[in-house]
């Protein structure tokens, strides 16, 4: 590359880099400015902290018997104890950790798959697009919850297969959003500019198009994480959770048998699920309003 061109490339890249940093900073600021975003970040952050510090908050562990069975909430056990004298608070804390871990892993897997499928479809166009989108529609129509029920029933429970299963079935929505974004970005002038500077296909897609396509995908990801938490809770509620790992649905399942004598066993785990889902949904709302200028009030 002759020196003059190189100088042009560098001078062309510097301002965009600066602009991007500015944009992302103002993006975060805009999320924080929306009420939904603030509450969402607070709740999600709080639950993340609980998940990370689960061992510190409840060192006894969720499976250790610490008191008399079925005692109502007291100062020592603010959420009461269950039928085996285990601390419900400890169960909720460790259960939150399980739910959040699952949500993060599934989001990563389905996010990667969705972005790969969606952007490939949009970038290649024509037949590849047709084939990939038909396949996406097929996966989208498979009822995730029932598939999970069958797979867990046949192959036995386990977090690993749940991550795989939900990750492999949760990506269609992400793929559709990614495809729509890449399709519209493909026509933009800055992409044309990068191409005419001699950048290869992969470089244009990965460095120019994808970073700009990410914001709407992140919104969908936060909603996917929320739905994953609900699905896991539902599965464990049916008794399909991993019996060696405490989760919020496992606690709710256990509570169903003692519903009339121990309301606290049902109330707190359920509230934790609702809080986590609410936090992620609000975060999604905030991200949407902050990152998408059209969604203003």
């Amino acid at each position: 590359m002759p020196d003059s061109t190189r100088a042009f490339v560098i001078s062309n890249e510097l301002p965009t880099l600066g602009l991007r940093a500015l944009e992302s900073r103002s993006g975060l600021w805009r999320i924080l400015r929306t009420g939904a975003g603030r509450v969402g970040i607070a709740i999600t952050g709080g639950l993340l902290a609980v998940a990370l510090l689960a061992g510190r908050i409840a060192p006894a562990g969720p499976f250790t018997s610490v008191g008399l069975p079925l005692t109502a909430p007291t100062l020592a056990h603010p959420m009461g104890t269950d039928d085996l004298g285990r601390d419900v608070l400890s169960g909720v804390v460790h259960g939150t950790r399980t739910s959040i871990l699952l949500a993060i892993l599934v989001s990563l897997l389905s996010g990667a798959l969705g972005i790969a499928v969606g952007s490939t479809a949009a970038w290649q166009g024509r037949r590849v697009d047709d084939a990939l989108m038909r396949f996406t529609e097929f996966v989208q129509i498979v009822p995730r919850f029932f598939l999970a029920v069958i797979v867990v029933a046949v192959f036995g429970p386990g977090l690993d297969r749940l991550v795989l299963l939900l990750g492999l079935t949760s990506w269609p929505w992400i793929a559709r959003v990614a495809r729509a974004e890449v399709l519209s970005l493909k026509q933009q002038e800055f992409v044309e500019a990068a191409r005419s500077l001699g950048a290869g296909q992969a470089r244009v897609l990965l460095r120019e198009v994808l970073p700009n396509a990410l914001p709407p995908v992140v919104v969908v990801l936060s909603l996917t994480a929320a739905s994953v938490i609900l699905i896991e809770a539902g599965l464990s509620f049916l008794g399909l959770g991993d019996p060696d790992v405490v989760s919020l649905g496992y606690l709710a399942n256990n509570a169903q048998r003692f519903l009339r004598v121990a309301w606290w066993m049902a109330a707190f785990p359920g509230a934790a699920i609702a809080l986590a889902v609410l936090g992620l949904n609000l975060l999604g709302d905030g991200l949407n309003e902050g990152l998408n200028p059209r969604a203003g009030r």
């Binding site: 498979v142 598939l147 049902a266 889902v277």
Partner: protein, 304 residues
């Protein structure tokens, strides 16, 4: 549909354990296993087995239940009416109330009514249906005795005729409302945002400028708002059905959810796989109905 059948077939065949051993016991001799395999066609090549399976399903034959000893189709068909009653009631409830509350929330958006509705919708959407069921059961059925706790009819006082209908409806109230809450919250939010956006559009300004009464203006706008709302309701059929399953378990409603739970406990694979197929068909049908209704509502969409 074909894809779903193949998926189902793959799950059966990837399942751990040899069916011949499961049927013939662990200590049978090799000749007996061979007999079992040829008796059930397990020695045929996989593609041929797949064809047999597909043709059986297309003829309405989903196999025989391990536990009930009867055809899976029959076992499932017995439970469908109860689930349809629950799901249908909840769907009507959530759609009608969701649209009504959405209009209300859009109308009062800056006032306390609107804000309260908005917060309630967020909470309603985030609450898992089974937990809401547990709480409602504790508070309204066990606590006040206003509603029956579980089941579909009162076993102590069997009724006939109209009294039976009233009994069923009385038992239906709580599970249907609980199941409806999630969808209601979502429908309401969609209607609210859609209406707020539509009311700022040019055609609404034109309608107002013509001096149309406000109720008529909202009706114009609503017609456009309903399209995305309908798509979302239709595309959530799977979530709705899984919610129904969980609510049925909480309230001991004798539908597909209870069958699913009992089949899970007894590892009745033919029933489980049959139910997965039925639920998938349900979801596909719901999408089809959505598309057709869409075409009716929007004159620009026509199917050949």
């Amino acid at each position: 549909m074909a894809g779903l059948l193949v998926l189902n077939f793959c799950i059966i065949h990837l399942a751990p354990g040899d069916p011949a051993i499961a049927l013939g016991g662990e200590h049978g001799d090799a000749a007996y296993y061979a007999f079992l395999r040829s008796r059930f066609g397990l020695d045929r090549p996989l593609p041929e087995q797949l064809l047999t399976y597909v043709s059986n399903v297309l003829h309405g034959d989903l196999g025989t239940s391990f536990v009930h000893g009867r055809s899976v189709t029959r076992v499932i068909a017995e439970r469908v009416p109860a689930t349809l009653l629950l799901v249908g009631t909840a769907l009507v409830l959530s759609s009608v109330a969701g649209v009504a509350l959405g209009i209300l929330a859009a109308g009062f958006r800056r006032r306390s009514v609107g804000v309260t509705l908005n917060v309630a919708a967020l909470l309603g959407y985030a609450t898992p249906s089974f937990w809401l069921g547990q709480i409602a059961l504790l508070a309204l059925a066990v606590g006040t005795g206003l509603f029956p706790v579980q089941g579909m009819t009162d076993a102590r006082h069997p009724q006939t005729g109209l009294a039976h209908l009233a009994d069923v409806l009385h038992h239906l109230v709580l599970p249907a409302v609980v199941l409806a809450i999630n969808e209601l919250a979502l429908t309401m939010r969609l209607v609210r945002t859609g209406l707020l956006e539509a009311l700022g559009a040019d055609y609404v300004r034109a309608a107002r400028a013509k001096g149309l009464p406000e109720a008529l203006v909202v009706r114009h706008a609503l017609r456009n708002v309903m399209l995305p709302v309908l798509t979302v309701i239709g595309s959530r059929a799977g979530m709705f059905l899984s919610g129904a399953v969980l609510v049925e378990v909480v309230f001991a409603w004798p539908g597909l959810g209870r069958l699913l739970l009992s089949s899970l406990l007894s590892r009745d694979y033919p029933v489980l796989l049959g139910m997965f197929l039925i639920m998938s068909v349900g979801v596909v049908l719901a999408n089809l109905i959505t598309d057709l209704t869409y075409a009716r509502l929007d004159p620009r969409i026509r199917y050949q």
